[in-house]
Every structure is written in structure tokens, then in C-alpha cells.
Amino acid sequence: MMFAAQSIAEYFQRFGGWQYVIAAIIHAVLLVHVFAVSPFAFIWLERKVSGRIQDRLGPTRVGGLFGWLQSLADGIKLVQKEDLCPPAADGMLFRSAPYIVCVSSFAAFMVLPFSDGWVAVAADCGLFIMLSILSLEVFGIIMAGYSSGSKWSLFGGMREAAQMVSYEIPLAICALVPVIASGSLNLGEIGGMQRGWFTNWFMFHDPFTFIAFFVYFVVATASCKRAPFDLAEAESELVGGFHTEYSGMRWSFFFMGEYASMFAVCGIASILFLGGWNTGLAPIDQALYAARSAGSDGTGGAAAIGYLANVIGAGVFAAKASFGVFVQVWLRWTLPRLRIDQVITTCLKYLVPISCFLFLGAALWPILMVAGTGRSTWNSPIGDRAAEGLQETREGGGDVAAVSASGVDLGMNFPRINEAELEGVVR
């Protein structure tokens, strides 16, 4: 069922007044695991991939042949280390900076849907909230650089902050391109509209969204301060940048934040461009949505199957996002570092104009399509797709067109581009 339970809080309403508390606890516990386990896995991945790219084996000792417990060994080592604070540092700021980085990238997961209805807060402007929370991360980095009382940290922090602040602009504009196509900022709705064959993914919606996906990915890599845009914390030039003076767990908090925000931006990419939790194969999607629909009404076996369908959806989503992280790791060990002026030039002189052009093109595309071919998209219109999902939630009967035409009356504001009206605009 597409919009049956928009969030976990809604799902727990059947258990009475404590639903928010239960939902909050369950979601927080699950998210802490996403937050803690995904860096665990990605750091191991980073080591393995870099090893293979450099024709080495990577970690092989801890935990069997593939060294998959290496991250645990690293973690134990980091916990044991002394919690240092240099005498020249501003103690309070120095100690609190890692928490700001960590909390801001953790809080972004609050509005990220992992599967249909599996989201803590189904906010109508979810994408906006997510981008605004992710933009707080830069603060922890400035604080860390400034309060360390060290020139290396200050330089690193300044560069990092300049880079992150300037890459936020094309990031937001590129994220807006699929938003124009879908007409919604609600990440759950955007994901639901891409059901069916993979041609329904917003990446294939029009040429502008196709390019926007790649631009978004480059910008997201840079805003996570990953190579080739990681000069600010280049080991050989700046002794680690803003985190030069950190050690032990505080140091690792920065990296947990970095890997979590890598996963977060790749998750946004997978929902905005790559269909989110949809498999991209229409028959399978159809079956999964039917199972969810049956599960949300039924009890016992049907509910279990519906739950399983959502687990599969979350798996598909995690696989897409993890693939994005893998590509970021792959890039890091393939491309040489850019100089800091080249990093900023790439952003301000190339990526910002390109993303503005894509934004404009995506806004004009439906009008041009209507003028040329008489329809606003080359495959099934977004409004129909959204209505198709809505129709399944109601007990059979009524054709798709009728439901989509009355989208407003059902309390759902689906972006239904009135093609006759658009033709009027064009002529």
C-alpha cells in the first residue's frame, strides 16, 4: 500500500498513545545501527578496494580470509587511545566539535526513507530538511579547525569549510532537478512515483535529470570531502587538516560522520534518481507493492509477507546507496587530488553554471515536450504513476485516469500537469 503508513509513527498508531515513543525508540535504535555498522563496513570496503586497486591484498588477518573484522580491531584500538586535548586549544569547543559533525550527519537519517513507509518522519519537505541538516556538518569542522590552536588545523578547517559551503549550492540545485520532475519534496512520495520499469526512474525522466545525476554525484563526493576533492585533509600536505590534533574516539567520530554522510548523500541520490526501494522490474515491484498492501490490512501471515516485502525494499535501497559509496571509494583511489584553487574553480566556474542550466532545462522540458509531442513525459506521466499507487490503496474499481484526474479531492496534491493548459501556455 503506497500511502497507507507514511511513517513508522503512523504504523505504531494501532498500539495506542505510546506510538511516538515506541516508534522513536525503534527508529533511533535501528538508525544507530545503520550509523555504526555502515562505517564499519565501508571502512573495511575502503581498505579492500584500495588494496585491490593498488594490486595488494588489503587486510587479511583479523576475521578470516577477507579480514572483515579489521574495522572492529581498529575500533578497539581507537577506544583504548588517550583522549588528548592540546594546551593551546579551546577545550570546550575542541571537545564538542566531533559531536556536532556526528549528530548532524546522524540526524539527517531522520527523514530518509529506507523503504515504502519506513521512515521516522514523513515530512512534506523531507528533502529540504535533509539538506539543511547536512549543511550543519560544516560547523563542527570549522569549530575543530579553529579551536585546535594549531596552524595546520586552522588552514585545513578554512579550506574544508570554503569547499563544503561552496559545494552546497550545486548540490541543492542538482537535487532540485528531479524535484521539478516529481513536483514533491517528500522523499517517500518521490520514491513511490518511480515504481514500475526502471525507465520510470527519474534519472531517465529527461536528458537534464540524466546529466543531473552525474553532476549530483560529483558534487556529493566533494561535499563529503572525499578524494579527489580532499586536499583540505591531505595527509602529505596538511598533516590531516582540521583533525590534526584529534586522537582516539573523537577522531573516529569525524570519520563515522564522514562515512554516514557519504551513505546519506548516496541515499538521496538513490531516491531522487535511481528509484529508491523500487527494483526497476515492473512485475517484481508489482508483487512487492501488492504484498505490502495486503500486509498493511491483514494480520498474521499477510502482515509478515508485507513486512518481508519492505525488508526487500530496504535491501534494494541499501544496495543502491552502498554501490554509490563503492563508486566514491573507487574514485578516491583512481584519481589524483585537485589543488584547492582547482577544487573551488571546479565548483564555482563549472558545476554551479552547469547545475543552473540543468535546472532551467528541466523546468522547460515538459513545456517543450507538450509543444513537440503533445504529452509532458516520454513515458507514463508522473500524475498517473502517483495515482496508480493511490488506487491500489482503495478497494478495487475505478480506473486510473479517473483517480488521477481527481487527485486533489483525495487530499493528495499530486503534481498533475494539465496538458491542455500547458498547450495553451505554449501557443
Binding site: C125, F128, I129, S132, S135, L136, F139, M143, Y146
Partner: protein, 195 residues
């Protein structure tokens, strides 16, 4: 005490305490840190009031934008490692007076308003329901200059302007302030005389 009022108390207390800490801390960057906590908790209050968009805008504009700019400014212009601001007793007295006066104004105006619980109502334009329930859409529409709640009740010939004019005046005023600030802060160079 319900969950919401508990959270409200927590975030309101965080806002107030960190606002006080902004005033009493000496280092500029520490002030910025406390200001982050204060503004972040304010946006949490917005989220609690179901005003997601306003909360996110608060985070993006004030915390992610203005404060980053402030810290950048401090980092780029400070002469020493940790810039400190010492307040003289006279300034404390003057600031305290202004603060108390402002508190009085806020208190008086809050008492002066007759608070009502918002009632569920729907606004219709033609046959379509523009807004139903307790949404902020009427407020947003009136900022865009359209008052469907008022216009539908009258005969429809007279359009109510909404808050568009004051809103635009404020934004033009902000632009004027920006230009003025840029003019005042620009580096004053003497024109080079040709030999």
C-alpha cells in the same frame, strides 16, 4: 506531562540557557557555538509545532548560512588566536536596560493578544478545496498576496491584498541594508594620481 510538552520544555530551556550563555561568554567563537545551540533549539521548537518548512529554513539560513558567515568573518579578521570581547560595566547596564525594555514589550504584546485555539476550517476557491484543516497554507497564500479566505466571503469583486506589500517592503529594506553595509565596508582607496 505529555511527550510534546516535555520536548517543548527541553528545547525551550536549551534555547533560553544558550541565549544567556551567548551574552555571558567572552570568546567570539564560543558565542557562535552557543548561538548554534540556541538557533538549533528554536528550529526544534518549529519542528514540534509541525512547521517543518520553517524549521528547516531556520537551520539552513541562520545556522548553516549566517553563523557560518559570522565564524568565517571572525576567523579571517581576528588578529590573535582567540578573539575576546570584554564588556565594560556601562555597556552591561545599558544592554540590560534595553533587554528589560524588550522583555516588557514582548510580555505586554503577548498579554494583549486574545489567544484562540485554531479551528479546523477549509478554504475553497471555486469548487476546489485550497486548504483544509489547520494548515499554514492560508498564511502562505496571504504572503503571496492572495486571501482566498476573505475573498470567498465577499462578493468576489474586491480582492484583499494580503501581506504581499509589507513583505516586499521588508525585503527591499533588507536589500538596502545590504548595499549600505557593502558601501560602508568597502576598502577606501585613493584614486592614483597620474604622474
Amino acid at each position: 506531562m505529555s511527550g510534546e510538552s516535555f520536548l517543548f520544555t527541553v528545547f525551550a530551556a536549551a534555547t533560553c540557557l544558550s541565549a544567556v550563555a551567548v551574552v555571558f561568554s567572552q570568546t567570539v567563537v564560543r558565542m557562535a557555538f552557543w548561538l548554534i545551540i540556541a538557533l538549533g533549539s528554536t528550529s526544534a521548537l518549529f519542528f514540534l509545532a509541525n512547521a517543518d518548512f520553517v524549521g528547516a529554513a531556520q537551520l539552513l539560513i541562520y545556522v548553516g548560512g549566517t553563523l557560518v558567515l559570522l565564524v568565517f568573518g571572525v576567523m579571517l579578521t581576528a588578529s590573535g588566536p582567540y578573539l575576546k570581547i570584554a564588556t565594560s560595566p556601562g555597556e552591561i547596564v545599558l544592554g540590560g536596560l534595553v533587554g528589560l525594555l524588550f522583555l516588557f514589550v514582548v510580555f505586554a504584546s503577548l498579554n494583549g493578544v486574545e489567544w484562540r485555539k485554531p479551528t479546523a476550517h477549509s478554504i475553497e476557491a471555486g469548487s476546489q478545496v485550497v486548504a483544509a484543516g489547520n494548515t499554514l497554507r492560508p498564511l502562505g497564500l496571504s504572503f503571496l498576496g492572495s486571501r482566498p479566505d476573505k475573498d470567498s466571503s465577499t462578493d468576489g469583486n474586491v480582492l484583499t491584498p494580503g501581506y504581499l506589500l509589507p513583505f516586499e517592503i521588508v525585503s527591499v529594506h533588507l536589500l538596502v541594508v545590504l548595499i549600505g553595509a557593502a558601501y560602508l565596508a568597502r576598502a577606501k582607496r585613493r584614486a592614483v594620481q597620474p604622474n
